[in-house]
């Protein structure tokens, strides 16, 4: 209610009615009674629904969902992702989905930006990024997820730890963990290379990595 009174100038009564409508919209059963409930009386999935109702109550054009399902169980995660998809197509809002789960981005997004140590490492349409990654970091991430088709065996692993962002090494921040790092990577910050009209990669060897991906695909 707080939000719509502030932004939409709703009266108390209007705000209450609007809030109930929003709660119904996100699938809170018995919204009229539950509007009196406190957060601790809800389950994790229900709380996330309330958050979404709050975020959408002023019909925003952009919704930033920061790890919206990370704390939830998979069956509840599926519910919330379906809800975000449905509301997105209904309201026409754009969504920035922040997540570490490659499975979630694969099913939910049109474009992907991969970040590492505060920098954009790769940017591409979703299917392009998964099929033809142009950055060694992205490629490592994709390969380190267990493949359901090829169970068992040793997983690909990116060596080392994510860096301390306050004390970044010179050159490319990923160089200490990169399997194809050369001298130049440790010395010079890499360029943001354009691979196609919509595909960019921050890497001295972006073209080579992309060519390898094209061959593998």
């Amino acid at each position: 209610m707080e939000v719509t009174r502030l932004h939409l100038g709703h009266s108390k009564k209007e705000a209450r009615e609007h809030a109930i409508r929003m709660l119904e919209e996100v699938g809170i059963p018995d919204a009229e009674a539950r509007i009196e409930s406190y957060p601790h009386e809800f389950s994790g999935g229900m709380r996330q629904r309330v958050m979404i109702a709050m975020a959408l109550s002023c019909q925003p054009e952009l919704l930033i969902a920061d790890e919206p399902t990370t704390a939830l169980d998979v069956t509840i995660q599926a519910q919330i992702l379906e809800l975000i998809k449905r509301l997105k197509s209904k309201t026409g809002a754009s969504v920035i989905l922040v997540t570490h789960d490659l499975g979630v981005v694969a099913g939910m997004t049109d474009h992907i930006i991969v970040m590492y140590a505060g920098k954009v490492f790769e940017q591409a349409p979703t299917s392009e990024l998964f099929e033809r990654p142009g950055n060694p970091y992205t490629r490592g991430l994709l390969r380190s997820v267990p493949d359901p088709a090829a169970a068992h065996g040793t997983l690909y692993q990116i060596p080392g730890q994510p860096p301390d962002v306050a004390r970044l090494p010179g050159g490319c921040p990923f160089a200490p963990r990169c399997e194809r790092a050369q001298d130049i990577c440790r010395r010079e910050f890499p360029p943001f290379v354009q691979l196609t009209s919509e595909h960019f990669s921050l890497c001295h060897f972006a073209d080579e990595v992309y060519t390898e991906s094209l061959k593998a695909a």
Binding site: A106, L142, P146, T154
Partner: protein
């Protein structure tokens, strides 16, 4: 379960019930949380048995009850033929040398006031396995085994990253040369790129040390990758048990089907095509779990009998067990069963007569 001899651990009708404090007011009956409610399960020597389920289903409690870090209410845990559940506290402490645990939270499970050297040598001292130089050498060996440098001996846990701390926890568990390790969500708190490192480490150690794991996780992809067999738990009960390959390729019980279909696949082409079973509602409370099949309140295939009959875990296909009255060995595919029919009811009554 024909390989009886090869079982390292046999769990028989294990129950862990927690009475809720203060709930017996005004002479009402006391509420009881049935975290684990009648689990029978064999863990074979040398295997990794994956245990999956959503939060609150009792999987961690089951893992802890095996080691008696949580006291079982009833039932047996047979370890090499000896019932751990009935041992005295002192006798159990001796047995813990063979049974260890790795915890989920590498931040909370290491004493911040102890150095890495002290943490890893503590179990060696407790069980008087080595002293002096031999102990020192053993600790160094352990650190190297888990991929840490012996230079770290004098450092404190806060100086390490999450993945390194989990390695310390693993070194501590291995210090007593155990046979069996409960890995309770060992990778859930870690970064994606670090998860692969820890999974590979656990797998390598299992082969080198002929360990047996109970790998508890809510991450189905991880469980599938590391496990030989997988058990699915829902509200205190095992509802499906099979080899990892078959449980993912052909889940039989509707809950398992929904659980597997809910896992997002990191491949946009697969994601665009697949049909996801979205379950309604939340997991019910384990205080008053639904009667009959505990999943019937959320199950798209539930019929009236599901709310009345508690389904036993029966063998539907070779080495593939499921608890659902709507399927049977003759009709394993629930999609092919006539609406309203419960072939499992006939099968289980026939089985109980035999």
């Amino acid at each position: 379960m024909d390989t009886e001899d090869n079982n390292l651990i046999s769990i028989r009708d294990l129950k862990v019930h927690f009475p809720l404090a203060g709930s017996a007011w005004f002479g009402g009956s006391q509420s009881i949380v049935k975290a684990v409610d009648g689990v029978t399960l064999d863990i074979q020597a040398g295997e990794t048995l994956g245990l999956v389920g959503e939060s609150g289903c009792g999987k961690s409690t089951l893992g802890r009850a095996i080691l008696r870090l949580t006291e079982p209410t009833s039932g047996q845990v047979l370890f090499r033929g000896q019932d751990l559940a009935s041992l005295s506290t002192k006798a159990m402490r001796e047995q813990r040398r063979h049974l260890q645990i790795i915890f989920q939270d590498p931040y909370a499970s290491l004493n911040p006031r102890m150095t890495v050297g002290q943490i890893v040598s503590e179990p060696i001292e407790t069980f008087r396995l080595a002293r002096g130089d031999a102990k020192k050498k053993r600790v160094q060996e352990l650190l190297e085994m888990v991929g840490l440098s012996a230079r770290f001996l004098k450092r404190y846990p806060h100086e390490f990253s999450g993945g390194q701390r989990q390695r310390i926890g693993i070194a501590r568990a291995l210090a007593v040369d155990p046979d069996f390790i409960v890995a309770d969500e060992p990778i859930s708190a870690l970064d994606v790129s670090i998860q692969a490192q820890i999974m590979n480490l656990l797998d390598r150690l299992r082969r080198e040390k002929s360990l047996t794991y109970l790998f508890i996780s809510h991450d189905l992809r991880a469980v599938q990758h590391v496990s030989d067999r997988v058990a699915v738990m829902y509200l205190g009960k095992i509802v499906e048990l099979a080899e990892a390959k078959s449980i993912y390729a052909q889940p039989l019980m509707p809950y398992t089907k929904a659980l597997i279909s809910a896992v997002p696949v990191p491949d946009p082409k697969v994601e665009a095509k697949r049909r996801r079973i979205v379950l309604e509602g939340d997991v019910p409370s384990p205080i008053n779990p639904p009667r009959g099949c505990r999943f019937h309140t959320r199950c798209p295939y539930a019929i009236e009998a599901c709310g009345e009959v508690e389904p036993p875990l029966i063998q539907i296909k070779p080495n593939h067990f499921a608890a659902c009255i709507r399927i049977s060995p003759e009709q394993p595919d629930i999609e092919g069963v006539a609406p309203g029919d419960a072939p499992g009811l006939r099968a289980s009554s026939a089985a109980s007569i035999a």
